[in-house]
Symmetry: C2
Subunit: 140 residues, 2 copies
Amino acid sequence: MSYTIHEVAQKMGISTYSIRYYHDHGMLPFVQRDENNNRVFNDVDLEWLNIIVCLRATGMPVERIQHYLDLVQEGDSTVPERYEMMQAQQERTLSEISDLQNHLSTINFKVDHYAEIMKNHEPDSFVPSNLRDTTADQTA
Amino acid sequence: MSYTIHEVAQKMGISTYSIRYYHDHGMLPFVQRDENNNRVFNDVDLEWLNIIVCLRATGMPVERIQHYLDLVQEGDSTVPERYEMMQAQQERTLSEISDLQNHLSTINFKVDHYAEIMKNHEPDSFVPSNLRDTTADQTA
DNA sequence: GGGTTGCCTTCAAGTAGGTCGAAGGGGGTA
DNA sequence: TACCCCCTTCGACCTACTTGAAGGCAACCC
């Protein structure tokens, strides 16, 4: 199967701009061109792109991804380094998930807090700011 | 209690650059200056910064955060809009956590895969790339 | 066959959110 | 007085896109 850049963009949930960016920066080394110089993607390209998207989404810089993809192309002798990279990425991602969960509970608290305020007001009865009690609202 | 910009940076785990950036962009409206024009932060400023860090870390653009902070200062009449903003942020964060968890399982798979390869090799016995079996390595 | 639409191309410029360096000032200590 | 350290502002730089301008090629319409 072969795909246009738009099909790939839709499939992967990223923009055509990003795909061109990755390609132009050497991260999609197997992409072909058709007779009009348009990019033509196949399933292997999609797999590579999948890796790129995964690593970018978990915060790996483009330069590191380039290095990782180079290692993949160099073969099994680079497995130990790739192993270390993926382990680092694993830890990084776990800690980012945990950070996000902490932030989420802060946000949950605010949602509940605002819901509570709204429950105690009749609809359309919010007091104007010049009349409100300012002492209790420091935590927003 | 009052704090220097460095103390705040350390407390919040962000750079002094970021703090100045937020201040310069009107997101820390209460920060004072001392007689030498240095920024002086108090506990209320820390609370505001905490909100900023939380919303930024969960992907809210600076402009939206500015708007949110404006709403907070306007008082209770803006509670419904703030409620909607925090609900949106809640959903966004939940879906980002879920995305990260999916990406994490891809990474876990690679870590396990590489560990498996390394287990089946004596140390320092990785084959040079020109001798390896290239057919099985498409998924990196 | 000429015009329009539409998708593609490249290259350059713009953007967000910081990050950093230069230049300079104030204050404390030796 | 010299030195050090931390602060300031302002402007340049950075990453990872994002967008715009200018133009090519093909397909359809009349």
